[in-house]
Symmetry: C2
Subunit: 532 residues, 2 copies
């Protein structure tokens, strides 16, 4: 077609081509101020000679190389000289920063081959067991950003559900660990905790870390930001302090205070995990095997030697039945033991949110009330945090089995936990903006009298997100009633907070049909799933 | 963070918000000249009030609505006012044309919910059998572009390999058919042929269509362009004639000439199939069930009542063993019979390319030599085409079983097939550009003497693609020796043609290591897989 038109321009003698080709491949690098998140995108003008000669297809993957660096990117074709000219290659923010070259620099482009390890993924789709070499090849290709979102989705689905036996989970964990950096704290006991999630509120880390650090046990806690939940520990901690610290600062701080509460995303630990999560979450797929590999590789990369895992169980929790929790526990233990991690699992009550607030500012309020020994502090958050902290304190060989809880309580009640939290906040850098609770409020009331017999975790998390959490930190839901509480008709069950009118409206619309609460006879409350 | 800073600007009273919200949501539509292929992309400025208030994440899906139309798009965040300003919403070419609105028009945006049918996909990942309603929901969501590439990949992997039993293949085919348009030719016999692919050259459709149409049987052939192969029938036909016709023109033409050779992509038949293929091919996954659903839904949508399927078998063909070909045949028959399609399968020789040329111009040369009864015409292409055409002619109730081949040969030898081809080319519109064979040539020679015992289809297809085919129509590979031919040392096996130096170089580099031919004793040639 159009290509054929320039046929006559092709040099007659093949001998001279070698040079021409290399000239033809060279383009000037341009940074395109488009944020394509975790996907590299390259922009080529439709009239660009390379595009025309190579027969690239839109959305094909190309290799861009410069100064020995090479990255892969998905190709978008541009028809506007203001975005890129035919002599330029544009790269999205992510791709540009990854290539580490200046604008205007000469770059070369070529069609990218599909990653070689996709062959192993296809074998996995066919039902084969993969080897350690296969997993290493796959995770290395993912880490090098050679996988497109589609290819990652194919890998996740093929290894999802019952796709991985427990030895493969171990191999996948090892290979994820092998393809990232790993911190060595040079101490015999580096404690960590992790909750598999699904319960709104539940901000126990912000209590466990100061208590455990005040005891003297090293607990360098890195947390995620929320992806599908209304707040991650990093989002909540950010109300009080900076959470994006440089590795050097972090190291000094942890040595001094024995603990921190920072965002894990700035480090390059287990990069493959971050990339897989960016596909897994929007797809809403997750399997036990992938969860175990994801959590354990991340914790081991962060240098943990001892880990306490919190698995909440409840009808609207991520894990709904005790038998699933037990199966998950066995899998964690199997993999953890084989990787030299001292691991304990606590199965906890996941029938309702923990604490009263859902959303960063509200959760900070709950946490501070517990730290300040305020009589109005939510008792469930306080109790759960003390139990978790107690178990971690017992990782200390000098603590007698069964004494952890009492030590934790003493640290909290004496004010040492609050003091430690203040020191950590100061060390990380006090949040300078005054972040306040959203002023637009709406109370959701009971349509009949009764006792609260059921609270839907997913539903309440959704309201808080619609209200703007976690990006709008003052947004969220404040629970006024919890399981077992008696409610009069017309009495408020919870209060929605929003900062912005549009969010406010979304959240209020959402609760028009149902409240997420069930009211009934007191004795209809499902029994606790878990006995502490 | 930054959101919280504008907290004080939020109106104090929720009553007035309703209005403000709707103002806040309105943006001006802008067309962004970026081709994102089959994926809708929306561009929002980072400072856009909607982006800030909604807490969208980059790569999240948003809904854009305008005048009752609504589309979904992946969000890219822009930091450059020259691309979009904070008051605008930019849409990539595809998304813009889908929304059917003018630039500057008011549009509204909101966060998109994941497609409801992803729930069924997750059940499929879990190993469940899905119902017709599930498949309808999935295909409808895909047709409405509610699925991201990732979500389509998840669906394909979950239903790939042994993921579909034959009744599910039937349900998937039916639902793909139900979610697109369907042509009704109002004739009792509408013939079609299809080859499952994998064999370079093999341009039989360009011979079968004129022969069958000259007999008087209606054969409105729509073909694809090459995706991973060096030429599709549409790419090759385009050397002679226009292939992108409007539906009205097409209809008139087919009624008049009884046949056509056009590109299927301009029609809206089985749109889901096109979208799934755009994910399946780059992933390199494909399963029998998906192939059958894809082919049969497309053919039925195009109005076929009778279909001849060509399944080539050979060591480097898509189907490598006779037992797999038989299994595939049964599946085609099972689904075809239940959808009222008269279907026959021909298992053919796939041990080597069919014809001599690989690449659009070279394949046209082969086809024209056969049509012109040129003594130098490739006999394998001629024979195979006559056999296929013969079988289709026998769909005609007035033709006695076993007479089709003789009728086809008579049509070819009498020149009526050539005449019909010329009429079809005229009716579709003669290609005005003179498209010539690539002038950069390179001959690949035998390193030893012997008989050709093996030709690697994949390898030769790859060379032709590297040489520039199908976009560079004059590029390709011209086979000088085929299976069984005797070769002297240093004698040329095939000739590479390229139009552009860079392509030429890629292709020549590629053949430095191996030729794709094996030479040996004459009696070592693998026996034909198939007996005609």
């Amino acid at each position: 077609m159009t290509q054929a038109a320039s046929d006559s321009e092709a040099p007659a003698s093949p001998v001279s081509d070698f040079h021409d080709q290399h000239v033809g491949h060279r383009l000037k690098l341009r940074r395109i101020a488009i944020d394509t998140y975790r996907e590299n995108v390259a922009y080529l003008h439709r009239e660009c000679s390379v595009y025309r000669a190579e027969g690239f297809q839109a959305l094909a993957k190309i290799v861009v190389s410069c100064n020995g660096e090479r990255i892969e990117a998905v190709l978008n074709v541009v028809d506007d000289d203001k975005i890129v000219t035919p002599d330029e290659l544009g790269l999205s923010e992510q791709a540009f920063s990854q290539l580490c070259a200046d604008e205007g620099h000469d770059v070369r482009v070529a069609q990218a081959e599909p990653p070689a390890s996709m062959d192993a993924v296809r074998r996995k789709i066919g039902g084969e067991r993969l080897s350690y070499d296969d997993y290493i090849a796959i995770t290395r290709d993912i880490a090098d950003r050679r996988y497109s979102k589609m290819e990652m989705a194919a890998f996740l689905v093929a290894t999802g559900q019952n796709g991985l036996d427990r030895d493969e989970v171990l191999l996948l964990t090892k290979s994820m660990l092998a393809t990232g950096n790993r911190i060595d704290w040079n101490e015999p006991l580096v404690a960590d905790k992790h909750c598999i999630g699904g319960i709104p509120g539940n901000r126990t880390s912000m209590l466990v870390v100061p208590i455990v650090a005040a005891h003297g046990t090293l607990i360098p806690k890195t947390s995620s930001r929320a992806i599908t939940s209304p707040a991650g520990t990093a989002d909540t901690m950010e109300v009080l302090a900076r959470v994006d610290l440089l590795p050097e600062t972090l190291d000094k701080l942890v040595r001094l205070e024995r603990g921190c509460l920072v965002w894990g995303g700035t480090t390059s630990l287990a990069p493959v995990d971050d990339m897989l999560i960016s596909v897994e979450r929007p797809l809403g797929i997750d399997s036990q095997g992938q969860m175990v590999a994801s959590i354990l590789s991340k914790k081991l990369a962060a240098g943990a030697t001892h880990l306490l895992l919190d698995i909440p169980v409840g009808p609207t929790a991520k894990v709904r039945h005790m038998r699933d929790a037990m199966q998950l526990r066995k899998l964690f233990e199997y993999v953890g033991d084989r990787l030299g991690l001292y691991l304990e699992v606590m199965i906890t009550d996941g029938r309702q949110p923990v604490g009263l607030g859902i959303g960063p500012v509200l959760e900070v309020r709950d946490v501070m009330r517990v730290l300040e020994n305020d009589p109005g502090a939510p008792t469930d958050l306080r109790e759960k945090s003390l139990r978790l902290a107690g178990r971690i304190i017992e990782f200390d060989p000098d603590v007698r089995g069964g004494q952890g809880y009492a030590i934790a309580r003493e640290i909290l009640e004496s004010g040492r936990a609050l003091e430690k939290m203040n020191r950590i906040v100061m060390a990380q850098g006090v949040q300078e903006q005054k972040i306040e609770l959203g002023k637009l409020t709406y109370e959701v009331c009971a349509e009949r009298a009764g006792s609260v017999t059921h609270i839907d975790n997913f539903f309440l998390a959704r309201i808080a997100r619609l209200a703007g959490a976690p990006i709008s930190k003052g947004a969220g839901v404040d629970l006024l009633k919890k399981l077992g509480d008696k409610v009069e008709q017309g009495e408020a069950l919870y209060r929605i907070h929003a900062e912005f009118p549009s969010n406010y409206d979304f959240a209020c619309d959402f609760v028009r049909q149902r409240t997420g609460y069930e009211l009934g006879e007191f004795d209809k409350i499902p029994r606790g799933y878990v006995e502490f």
